[in-house]
């Protein structure tokens, strides 16, 4: 065994802001249109065009800054990042360099049972490039500029992440947050949310950062996890073999599950950043910020803390329930209908409901069982009408569209037997039929007791209230 290594990861996340039009032109940002049909004169960089900033994009950046407790720079600067590429029409990308709109801030993540705060370096506004299409053109390259000028918020974290697992937890939390505050549709297949991972390793306990490699364009959580794991392993292998890490940009190949070098620092481009003279400094008005602040919903972090503090939920539950706004609002509705039963609601949302949704690949908003319907079902558990097992059966029927819970309970005769007279008769019959087990229990075998409860439940076709059965049985056999 070699020495222990620590993995250090920082993420740069490109979040496509869900504005109707582009960041510097009036062209539509809708995905999937025929090539170059959503590229205006500005997006094509025709001679004589000028950029005009879309304030909807700025508003979304401000929402983000407020949501992560960052500093909003009252005066930020757009800069030109100069490089030649066929799908970059102006020969430069308008971005923010020295003074970004959002500085600092933090995101709290939940990894298993522990929570962790990940610091953000900055978030800046910039425009996306177009796409080069290398297929279907018989050795030539096609250019689609529909995406050129789409607004992006690049969110840069500090190197605070210590494993692929933490990086994924951070990316998922961020993904949930940007959707929560309605600044990004989060569609990863369409490239609306993609990450670059800066990965380095260092001996456990070392305070100095190792040389990093940047893995570009990871557009799924699974690829993010695998790419970091592969890259960290690769770097550790190099170092353990006495080698040296070369700073470089790498690409992850999901088919071969490996990262490959794209370019090294030596041939890194000189982007010749300078302030864009076509755009004035972006000045934020404090009244505007206050207005946006007032329009923000309760944020996931605040809600998570409230769930733990006021509802008594474990922090794990609170994190899962606030991972996305739809799940959380489902849970909110449920718990409002069943005050005092937060844990029961949480168990069902995280358990039965999530399992069914996942199995059928449905979003919670498309759940056939609404929160109001589920609330009725859970009330029947809470008031002792249904056992947990019977409730699952009812839930299945509800899922299949067989009506509301009370109808199903009545139609199937599933009502739990809680009448003590009826239960006593049942228990007495079980004792009479199983003398050997009764003796075993009396001799100290707890297992025999469970057997007897099982028999009673079976005899009732599962309808007996199990807690009451145990109570009666124990009284009778111990007596």
């Amino acid at each position: 065994m070699g020495k222990a290594w620590e993995i250090v990861v920082g993420l740069e996340t490109h979040t496509q802001l869900s504005t109707r039009s582009k960041i510097f032109s009036g062209a539509s940002t809708a995905f999937g249109a025929a090539p170059n049909t959503q590229a205006s004169a500005v997006d094509l960089a025709l001679p004589g065009v000028l950029p005009v900033l879309n304030h909807a994009a700025v508003e979304k950046a401000i929402r983000f800054g407020l949501a992560v407790g960052a500093t909003l720079n009252p005066r930020s600067i757009f800069a030109r990042k100069n490089y030649f590429y066929p799908d970059l029409p102006k020969g430069y990308q308008i971005s923010q360099y020295e003074i970004p709109i959002v500085q600092g801030g933090a995101v709290t993540i939940q990894v298993g049972e522990h929570t962790k705060t990940v610091r953000l370096t900055r978030a800046h506004l910039e425009e996306d490039a177009g796409k080069s299409l290398h297929e279907d053109f018989h050795g030539m390259t096609g250019i689609d500029l529909n995406r050129a000028g789409t607004p992006l918020l690049e969110i840069v974290s500090e190197p605070d992440l210590r494993s692929a697992e933490e990086a994924v937890a951070y990316a998922k939390t961020l993904h949930g947050l940007v959707r929560w505050i309605d600044i990004c549709d989060g569609n990863m297949q369409e490239g609306s949310f993609r990450c670059d991972a800066n990965v380095s390793v260092r001996p456990q306990g070392s305070a100095q950062l190792g040389t990093r490699c940047e893995i570009k364009n990871l557009n799924s959580f699974r690829f993010l996890e695998r790419a970091i794991e592969y890259e960290a392993r690769r770097q550790i292998d190099v170092l353990e073999d006495g080698g040296r890490i070369v700073q470089q940009t790498r690409l992850y190949d999901p088919d071969r599950d490996e990262t490959r070098p794209m370019r090294s620092k030596e041939d890194a481009q000189d982007y010749r950043y300078f302030p864009d003279p076509d755009l004035l400094p972006l000045v934020l008005d404090s009244a505007w910020i206050a207005h946006i602040q007032a329009s923000l919903p309760e944020l996931p972090q605040a809600r998570r803390e409230r769930y733990v503090r006021d509802l008594g939920l474990p922090s794990y539950d609170a994190a899962v329930l606030t991972a996305d706004r739809e799940t959380s609002s489902y849970f909110e509705d449920l718990v409002r209908a069943l005050p005092g039963h937060a844990k029961l609601c949480s168990n069902w949302v995280m358990g039965e409901l999530s399992a069914r949704l996942n199995r059928e690949e449905r979003a919670i908003a498309q759940s056939p069982v609404t929160s109001a319907q589920l609330a009725v079902l859970l009330r029947r558990i809470a008031d002792g009408t249904l056992s947990g097992n019977l409730a699952k059966e009812v839930f299945d029927a509800m899922w299949a569209g067989q009506g509301d819970p009370d109808q199903i309970i009545a139609a199937r005769g599933l009502k739990q037997i809680s009448d003590s007279g009826e239960l006593e008769k049942l228990v007495e019959a079980v004792i009479a039929a199983n003398p050997a087990q009764v003796e075993e229990y009396r001799a100290g075998k707890e297992k025999a007791f469970n057997f007897l409860v099982g028999q009673a439940m079976k005899a009732s076709k599962g309808k007996a209230n199990p807690a009451q059965v145990s109570q009666i049985l124990r009284a009778k056999v111990s007596g």
Partner: protein, 484 residues
Amino acid sequence: MHLESLAGLGRALAARQVSAVELARLYLARVERHRDLNAFLDVRPEVTLAQAQQADQRIARGEAGPLTGVPVAHKDIFVTRDFSSTAASRMLQGYMSPFDATVVERLAAAGMVSLGKLNCDEFAMGSSNENSYFGNVLNPWDKTAVPGGSSGGSAAAVAARLTPAATGTDTGGSIREPAAFSGVTGIKPTYGRASRWGMIAFASSLDQAGILTGSAQDAALVFNAMLGFDPKDSTSLECAPEDFTRRLAVSLDGLRIGVPKEFFGTGLMADVEQPIRAALRELQQLGARLVDVSLPNARLGIPVYYVIASAECSSNLSRFDGVRYGHRAEQYDDLIDMMSRSRAEGFGAEVRRRILVGTYVLSHGYYDAYYLKAQQVRALIAKDFQQAFSACDVIAGPVAPSVAFDLGEKAADPVQMYLSDLYTIPGSLAGLPSMSIPCGFGAKGRPVGLQLVADHLQEARLLGVAHRFQLATDWHQRVPPGFQ
């Protein structure tokens, strides 16, 4: 008719003494007759006449403004839907824009009839119009002389009375210097007054559209239609509309004219200084008081300008890569090679030189020493002007150190060429309104221009001073021999 002022043409049209179509034909014929000047790059009589017909219909309906039916021509830096837009570059030979520049659109909306597109230095880079891919322009006063640049076609066309007005663009003197060399009136407004939408960018923080005409009064009339806020240009100033003719009748009594000593040092040719001094005396006669002022950092204008303008141009011209439009090399190995060759072939020597300089000064490790330093000095130069304007209302001096030089004389020496913008660059760096008006003749009978600079947004005052001078003198009415 072609010797009439623009205001006079407007009156004649309104009085139906002449129709817009007749006027268009008259000027088109003059353009045709003087093709040897090479002032025009694209002329399309059918387009011009169609616009003139529309102007006549407007006049007939009684909807005419003071400019309706008056001809104008546009520097080929403005993109136009109806004429090709080339920036005088091989890169854009034959390029047709799908939209009109705001300046073009506004003058068309006022009813002005476009005669076509005017030659200039490639991408407005030059001081002699010798950098045009489509050949140099001749100075109507002396066909062995340059007309100045970069708006050389505009200046020559107005001087030769091929058009009563021509748009120009000024980045470091590109309206004022050719106006001086060709003996016409040329004005650039405060940075941000004219929309840059549709102006093929050279140096975004300096580029300003302006106008070359026969007189300050004519320029004021055109400014009324041309200037104003444009939401399509983020650097456009949001000012209330104003009447730029409102100060034409204001006397010069008590006006303080600042004379910067730095504009009269060595380097200023005696044949230029003499008419300038005479013009200053004339202004005194008209009631103005001369005040000594100083612009101590103005001497740094040229290096500062060539850092900033080159930096911005290196980035602005990156879009010309052969991918979407413009010149594409015939032979290439791959994408990057295609771009390199297309740019090497499409751009002329001066444009390539400035792209290289600009790329260098923005490079990692040089940015602070060049670009950042230049911006700091630029702020100092602007401060000098503010200081000067605390002691005077208008600054006056020469436009250029010499009269128009001979064709080819400085073409091989870029630094000598750059020096012809010595006195115009400081005002550009400060974003100030500034103009050139004819004030006499120097060596070889070549015209001399008086430069007037005012504080931000003081165009009306500037035009007023120039107009009082032009009421008292007739330099602006002199017509080059052979063009009467």
